[in-house]
Amino acid sequence: MPKYFPYNTVNYGGQYVPETLMPALYELEEAYERFKRDEKLQTELQHLLHEYAGRPTPLYHARNLSEKLGCKIYLKREDLLHGGAHKTNNVLGQALLARFMGKTRLIAETGAGMHGAATAMMGAFFNIKTVVYMGVEDIARQKLNVLKMKLYGAIVHPVEIRAGVGSLKDAINEALRDWVTNVRDTYYLFGTVAGPHPYPTMVRDFQRVIGQEIKEQIFAHENRLPKAVIACVGGGSNAIGAFYEFLDDDVELLGAEAGGQGIHSGKHGAAITAGRDAILHGSLSKALTDDDGQIHEAYSISAGLDYPGVGPEHAYLAETGRATYYPVTDAQAIDAFKLLSKTEGIIPALESAHAIALAIEYAKQCEADDILIINVSGRGDKDLEQVEELI
């Protein structure tokens, strides 16, 4: 497994963690290599993805939206996956791995609560004690997922770095501190394609199924490749999952970052568009940082994109030009959220609404016959309370 995604003189990725965790990362990598080759475990994973999680998810030709946007729009319905988002692909894989490694405790960080709820779901399913770290700001705006986690039997640990402040990056810091302390029996079930090696590669492997299915399904529908695949990017797991199968094809790969209140406002989470090469949470990638190396607080209406960093493979894809990333503002995302709900009767997560908003923009330059695939990474029930006054 490659530890770095090298571009010019920069080795994106790597393992920037305290020495205490290094042996655990080697143990994880070694176990994952065995896990990949273990036919019985792979069969079990496939079975669970199919029977428990509901894969494959549909690739749906959204005719109403297509008509509105003037090209062929297909939606990859990860929102229909059990748990309500693509996160289930990753947690099923990693929870099986944790069991295989004999770990007796799961920890996770969460922003929007989707990964936390998905991990808690696994804790319930595999009967493993689970602790989820979540920023106080996110706990306030994602009550539904907090309730789910509690119902699954997980402990939700609020993270507050100063009065009223605490989001995804702080939750990751706290989860890392827990892992440093309890490294021998605890499995850190990381939620995205960031973090130290092997997480970016491993989580990508578990999410690749999205793109693999898209490819098969679009050939079944249209017998040709799409013009573009579009996904939202926080840490970037649903995007890398959707993109990876198309890396060698003539298909545009477009990532929608959290533009928040606009790049110039300084209130956003656009690590690629507005960030620079930086070391954060175990890897060298892109992040929002100042000249002194301090990490900025990110901002987004969507908790899942409210993160100042991004996975190292995205930094690599951005630098090589293979994928292109655009900021999408809160306002654009809300419009897209409403549009999809009203045209198709599908309520996307606010995160996924960023991808839809980018598709709306991109469609302006498309021909009627062009195919755009949007990864609807999750469903929007969790966001209804938050956007109540905007509807």
């Binding site: 393992q15 963690v17 305290p18 020495e19 205490t20 290094m22 100063r162 301090q294």
Partner: protein, 261 residues
């Protein structure tokens, strides 16, 4: 480069530069040095201090919200050096060095009188640019060893660290327990066994940190073969509790350090 004699027991005492204020942290440095500290540890502030417990997190937060910049920090290190002439041991997270630029950063550190630098989130695998840039400026890059580090890995770390024994004095920083910085009640048998395990592989001085706050702790570490100890969080706690009473703060810190030596 001052030559530090790490014998028979080296006491490293920590502070967070800029906390509670730049002036008070300078006073604290002077107090620590006068009270018997051999080396002053400067725990530089970073917004994402993943290796630090609540005491240091809080101090880092306060320092950053006071707009204390890295430029201010280097100026303060220089003042501490000028006023104490003590060997200075700086802890800096990787992204700070990365953003300022390796060459530039270590040049500034050397100019401010820093003798040792440890980067808590740059393990052996990522250490090369840090260690090489440090070496070029006459600064010793300090490697960490943790209780989870196996013998084979200890050998690799010792091998790298040895590159710094000549011409620089160096030491290995042993993390006493799996976990983050902060006070703990006692020194466990596991910590003792860990020190003995590392001691058997090298004669490089071993300095033990994390959780040390009493003379008995240090005695137990020395008996196990360590050459010294680091204490930091208790000093920050005193500074925090007495931040409105600077004189009492310094007296209490002095008493604490004297009680360890």
């Amino acid at each position: 480069m001052s030559n530090v004699k790490i014998y028979p027991m080296t006491l490293i005492t920590g502070l967070v530069p800029g906390y509670p204020t730049p002036e008070l942290s300078l006073e604290t440095a002077k107090t620590l040095h006068k009270s018997g500290a051999d080396i002053l540890e400067l725990s530089a502030s970073f917004s994402e201090p993943i290796a630090d417990g609540p005491t240091l997190q809080l101090a880092h937060q306060k320092v950053l919200s006071s707009n204390f910049s890295k430029k201010d920090a280097f100026a303060l290190y220089k003042k501490i050096k000028d006023e104490t002439r003590a060997p200075l041991f700086l802890i800096e997270y990787a992204n700070v060095i990365y953003q300022i630029g390796f060459e530039e950063y270590y040049k500034k550190a050397a100019g401010a009188g820093i003798n040792y630098i440890l980067v808590p989130d740059a393990p052996l695998e990522e250490s090369a640019p840090f260690a090489e840039s440090a070496r070029a400026e006459g600064i010793a890059h300090i490697f960490m060893i943790a209780p989870t580090t196996n013998d084979e890995r200890i050998k690799m770390i010792v091998h790298k660290a040895k590159k710094h024994t000549d011409p620089f004095p160096t030491f290995l920083y042993l993390v006493s327990v799996t976990g983050v910085t902060g006070s703990r009640k006692n020194v466990s048998d596991e910590t003792i066994a860990f020190i003995k395990r590392v001691r058997s592989t090298t004669d490089i001085p071993l300095i033990v940190g994390f959780g040390i706050s009493a003379r008995e702790h240090i005695q137990a570490l020395i008996n196990a073969g360590a050459d010294g100890a680091v204490t930091c969080s208790p000093i920050i706690d005193i500074a925090h509790n007495l931040k409105e009473k600077p004189e009492q703060m310094q007296n209490t810190i002095a008493r604490y350090i004297t009680s360890l030596a």
